[in-house]
Symmetry: C2
Subunit: 374 residues, 2 copies
């Protein structure tokens, strides 16, 4: 079942543009208490979506955190009412570049305004108000989801009771901006890009989007996990003595090593479910994210006096959002005497570990969600 609501009040974005209305697609799990006091907000990652614990309508895959969210799970849907909204700018039902601009009757495309992580959170907050929900037990998210959690905590400290930031950072680093820019360039160099108006041509910049996904996917894994998974394993029928012929027949490229074929697969799956303009819009929102900059250059200002209980989780082999960036955040939270715990999960599976079966992470989550208060 797909849920959706429409924000009819204009949303003013950081760039100054006012979106007259915003559609918000979301999923819920569990039952809202009569007092509406058992709400958990889960914020999804860059190319994630609201299907946290239900099958994805396009790929048919299980929810991306179905291990974590459900009856008796670390986030127990017998106690909590979990809401996950597709972020502004995305393409799974919430208003984004692939949506119709109601004022013009045309697809937004590259006319969609640039957005920020703060804009995403403002939209979520407005949606929550429309649902009549005034407080949130916890806001939880990994990667770009963690950035939204930080933004929630900074913007709405009286709404949020606790906040869990997983494999994330209070700012996007230069290296990550660089990787995102490589992906964007691959997209706009695709002959099917058509200045972002590919939908007019009934095509999509498949190859560019696939390359963008490939480079991003490398950053989600660790060198160790890639070595364990693939090493230098060669695909059958790709032996060097056949390479010459294959090269001539044009089938040579990208067909030698298993890691290549795996990346191609990742790329080819991704283009079925994600819009290229949404990819550009969201990666740019991430690249602009620098929470301190919104508070006169100091994260301390963002969290001064906060009553929120924080849990910051990093992954030891994550080189996209390395532990050092989580530590910076923890130091700031300590400076403002916030209630904060910090765990570095030992895993060699890289950034993606927060989506995988890592018992230590589940245990941390369970502890955070079930504190003994007496």
């Amino acid at each position: 079942m797909s849920l959706s609501l429409k924000l009819e009040h204009g949303i003013e974005l950081d760039c100054g543009v006012v979106l007259p209305s915003v559609q918000v697609a979301y999923q819920t799990y569990g039952t809202l208490a009569d007092k509406k006091d058992n709400v958990i907000i889960i914020c999804h990652a860059m190319t994630g979506d609201q299907y946290v614990a239900s099958h994805h309508p396009v790929t048919g895959k299980e929810g991306w955190w179905s291990r974590i969210v459900g009856p008796g799970c670390a986030i127990d849907t017998e106690r909590f009412f979990v809401i996950c909204m597709n972020v502004l700018g995305s393409c799974m039902g919430t208003t984004g570049p692939a949506s119709l601009n109601e004022q013009t009757g045309k697809i937004w495309g590259t006319d969609f305004p640039p957005i920020s992580i703060r804009d995403m959170v403002r939209v979520q907050y407005a949606a929550l108000q429309q649902m009549g929900i005034e407080t949130v037990k916890a806001v939880i998210g990994g990667s770009m989801g963690g950035m939204q959690v930080l933004q929630w905590a900074a913007l709405y400290p009286s709404v949020v009771e606790s906040a869990m930031v997983v494999a994330s950072s209070p700012y996007q680093s230069a290296q990550n901006i660089a990787f995102n820019e490589v992906g964007r360039q691959a997209i706009i160099n695709d002959p099917n890009w058509h200045q972002g108006a590919y939908f007019h041509y009934n095509t999509i910049p498949e190859q560019g989007l696939a390359v963008a996904r490939m480079v991003a996917h490398i950053t989600y894994l660790s060198e160790v996990s890639l070595n364990k998974k693939f090493g230098r394993k060669i695909r059958p029928q790709s032996l060097l003595n056949q390479a010459s012929r294959q090269f001539r027949s044009g089938t040579f490229l990208g067909n030698i090593f298993e890691v290549e074929s795996y990346l191609h697969y990742q790329g080819s799956m991704f283009i079925k479910r994600f819009d290229a303009n949404a990819y550009i819009t969201i990666t740019q929102a991430i690249d602009r994210f620098d929470l301190a900059a919104e508070y006169e250059g100091s994260l301390v200002n963002a969290f001064k006096g906060t009553g929120i209980r924080f849990c910051i989780v990093s992954i030891s082999s994550d080189w996209l959002y390395p532990t050092a960036q989580s530590r910076q955040l923890v130091q700031v939270l300590n400076q403002v005497a916030a209630n904060v715990s910090f765990v570095e999960i030992s895993s060699d599976r890289g950034h993606d570990a927060f989506l995988l079966d890592v018992p230590e992470f589940e245990m941390v989550m369970r502890g955070f969600m079930n504190p003994r208060l007496a």
Copy 2:
């Protein structure tokens, strides 16, 4: 002055193809001793060239190791005769995909056979024989150059006296294969690629080649060096409140952060000097490199009984060829009781540090080249 020689004897490649003749472009520095016993071979990196200590004919830039090679330098051209040859498959004068195939009278293009690092070294050895040189004081190289050094040492142990391997590895890791494949895909997705026959259309796959260079360039730097160099610095005239308009006018992309503009510059410079087919050919040669595989799966077999004096140098912040890979090599050389020293240079400048002004590296090089033997 450009030097070049032609190997008229056929060169049989690992793929089984015999190249009937090979042109080898090279540069020399210093004077060959009468006994021809003062030769140093320098092996260049992936997109490097023979212009070690002289100006590049296309870019006009200083030689890439002019700090290291010259009169009185660590590699002292008053004592040594330094030779650097453009590798097989490249595009600076040595036979490669952009060369004419003498048998057909046409440009090789994608008909150029797949090559290996071993093929590159065989060509260099044949060229040396043609010069009448029988022994080499040292073979030295960084990155792909270091792979060639290892191959030299394994293939011609009686020719090579000492070998220095800098920021390199005895094999290409899955992560590095993955990054190279992203670059290749960007190239072949370029509308100007024309199945590799772009030269027939008087064009080059500029944008794809630039993206390939961008992603590679990120791997040459460290996160710390990117942060120091650029951090999240925003370009003038790219403020967020202008972003909306810029996005609409199509100039928005890639023009916000300084790191983006730097990468674009790197990409745009690269396409002036490097052939796309050569890029594909050489990255594939690197990806195939796995020295142990040539010796029944054991590096020990590659170096058993070697009399070569080795120096292995890694860079602490190099994540392309991390120190761990150099250590593996050192362990093997210890296992065969080789004469080997190992230094990890402390630098936060990433893989590229071996090309930069890093005094500790120069000192190590000077020591290695000027041993006190009594």
